[in-house]
Structure formats: C-alpha cells, structure tokens
Subunit: 203 residues, 2 copies
DNA sequence: ATATTATACTATACGGTGTAATTTATTTGT
DNA sequence: ACAAATAAATTACACCGTATAGTATAATAT
C-alpha cells in the first residue's frame, strides 16, 4: 500500500467570484460576442490566464453564469394556496415574486443578456429552459383554488398561460426594454392584471 | 448656360435587393456580430465590393434592413371600429393582424434578430421604436367602442396595455422562442385571450 | 461611363496557449 | 511554535492562428 500525500488545495473561490462578477458586468454591457476575455480580465482585476485556470473557454464561463442565475431562480419558494388570504393578495404576491428576476439591475441585465442570446440560439435556450416547468406550481395553485370554489376554469394550463402572458407581456418584457423604468409606476397596472384575471376566472 | 450631360444611371435595384435578401438570411441565422460580410456576399451571390458600393458599412446594411422591416410594418391598415361586427370578431382580426410580423418565417426571423439586438442596445432600440405609437390606433378603437356602449373602462391606455400584454405575452414572444411552433394550435388560446379581455371590459 | 467582379491586401482584434517569474498558503523540520 | 521547504495559484507577457471589416486595383461586363 503506497502512501499518497495529498496536499490541501487552496481556496480559489474568491478569484472565481471576482471573475464571474467581472464577466457579468462585461457580458451584460456588451453581449457575448462583443465581450473580450481581455476586457473581462481587466474588469475582474485578474489576469487572463487565471480566467482560463478556472474556466476552459469563454463559453464555459458564460454557462457558469447561466447556471448561477438559474440556481438563484430556483431558490425562490413556490406559490402555495391558502384559504386564509384573498386571491387578490396571493396573486399579487406571486406576481411580485415572478418579477424578482428583473427587479434588481444585475439580474435584469442578465435576463436581457440571456433573452438576447437565447433568441439567436434557440437550441441552447430550449435546453436551458427545459430544466424546469415554470407553470407547474401555479397550476397546482389554480387547482387548489378551484377545489375551494374560488375559481372556475376549463383548463388550468390555459388559465396559467393567460396569467403568465399578462405578467410577462405587461411587465417583464417592457421592463427589459426600458431598463426597469416601466416598473416605476406599475402598481396600478399590476392591480389591473389581477383584476382582469379574476374577472375571467373568479367565482 | 452650360450644357450638362447627365448620363442615365443604371438600375441597381436588383443587386440591392439581392444583397438585402442575402443579408437577411445570414443575419437572422447568426445574429449581427457572427455574420461576416464575406458570407453575406456569398449568400447574396454578389461580390463583397458590390455590397460596399451600396452600403457604406455593415451597420448601414443592418439599418437598411431595419428600415425595410418598419416600412412593411407601417403598411398594415389600422384597426377601425364598426358596429356592424361583434367585438370578438374585430378583436380577433386585429390580434391576427398584430401577429402578421411573426407569422412568416422571414419576418419572424427578423423579429427575433431585432429583439435580440435591441435588448443589448437599448438606445438603438428606443430610437427605432420611438418612431411610432403602437397603441394609438387601438386606443381610438377602444374609445369608439365605449362610445357605442359596448365597452367600459377607466383608462383606455391601461386597457390597451392589457390587450397588448396578453397578445404579446401569450403569443408573440412564445412564437419567437419556439420558431413559430407555439402558433400551430393557438386558436383556442387566442379565443381565451379575447374572452379574458372582454370579461374585464365588455358591457 | 457605370456597375460589378476577382483578388489581393491592410490593419486589427480576439480566443486561447506557453512560459518563466512571483506570490501565497500549507507542510515539514527543528 | 517558528522558520524553512514546497507546491498550488496567480501574474505578466509574448505569442500563434485565425477571422474580419474595409480598401485598392485592375479587369470585365453592361
């Protein structure tokens, strides 16, 4: 039996974090193609060679950012039906949670970046998105509300599409195009969205 | 008075058209950055020098495509209220007209491309979009319908945002992300959108 | 005479690598 | 417990190959 001396690896998470943060800044400002590794190294305050010590290629670096983003997204707690709160309140809270990804400037920048990249590389986008079923938790909520006789609809999938369509079409995408300015006075719009949804599906 | 012989210029519109069509193909497939002028020349069946005879730079070529696209968009006839038709019919027709830009594969490709580019260059996007007020004609329609006692709402702007949000969030953006596949069986969804809108604003 | 073409060319930018020096944390010897 | 030895991580910098926007030019087609 041979003795193998394994030396403890040093902690490189600080550098890794700096690289990712710098890359996020550069990528969100210029997009993938127009961002050079030299520039990312400069902004991250790190040598270019160190980037390649952590990430084999520019694309791997990008994917790491995507992965981090998705992890953050998945950490949100899902919507859960309760009869103790009005539908309005629950929907409003849920819609605001959905806006989580675009309320913070950094996350909004990433949302813009990914949307932009995914549009021109649909396979990549599909592969990334296919990992989760975004409507799933909301459909369960809808069914619970219907069992509780507060909602009525033919198809929960269709109702979920309407709700997500309203939120994304009225709030999410406009926010991406206006750098969040459209969210400034959007409370009335959010109320109107929920009123519209409930006017169709409420009992 | 000096006689100036102006020689008739030859018609170069054919070449120009070929260039634009080739550029559309390449740009929509690869995006702006990843499209080379050499490749565009090849696909257009034209020498690269000829492209530069028609367009001073890659960006000018791109802008020309944007301009053509917007012209086509503006050629659609606007919605006009009539009491001879049901609201459902008019709204359905209008929504379908709004989907004009994404029903055809080429126009859909351009919509994807522009959305992708505009997201990462918001100033450019804003400048391009600011040329028209997309909701204007629809707001007029809404007001006419209200005067005719078929609709009732507090704010026509808000109602218009809800309608556009529904159409774009449920139909337009999904179509861009799925290369139009989501439009295949979208008739039921479109009916649901209109039912939702009318359940909120119909009399 | 105008438009187009083929071809070669310039200048530059960028992804990624090689390398030798240097920093830094861990291990080991005392 | 402390300093010397050691190996991992980082850095600076030069470098390679390639791609690309745009130009120059001379020949050819219309």
């Amino acid at each position: 039996m041979t003795e193998i001396k394994t030396r403890k690896k040093r902690d490189t998470s600080q550098k890794r974090k700096a690289i990712l943060e710098g890359a996020v800044k550069v990528f969100t400002q210029n997009g993938f193609d127009a961002s050079s590794m030299d520039r990312i190294a400069e902004v991250a305050g790190v040598s270019k060679r160190t980037i390649y010590n952590h990430f084999p290629s520019k694309e791997d670096l990008f994917q790491a950012i995507v992965a981090d983003f998705l992890k953050q997204r998945d950490e949100r707690k899902p919507i859960q039906y309760t009869s103790a709160q009005s539908l309005e309140e629950q929907l409003k809270e849920f819609a605001k949670a959905e806006l989580f990804l675009i309320n913070d400037p950094v996350r909004r920048g990433l949302s813009k970046l990914f949307t932009s990249v995914f549009l021109m590389d649909l396979d990549f986008g599909r592969k990334t998105r296919s990992q989760f079923e975004p409507h799933k938790a909301f459909i369960a909520w809808l069914n619970a509300a219907q069992e509780n006789q507060k909602l009525r609809f033919q198809s929960p999938e269709l109702a979920a599409r309407i709700f997500y369509g309203l939120v994304e079409g009225c709030l999410t995408y406009p926010a991406l195009f206006t750098d969040g300015a459209s969210l400034r006075n959007a409370d009335g719009l959010l109320d109107e969205i929920i009123a519209t949804f409930l006017s169709r599906y409420g009992c």
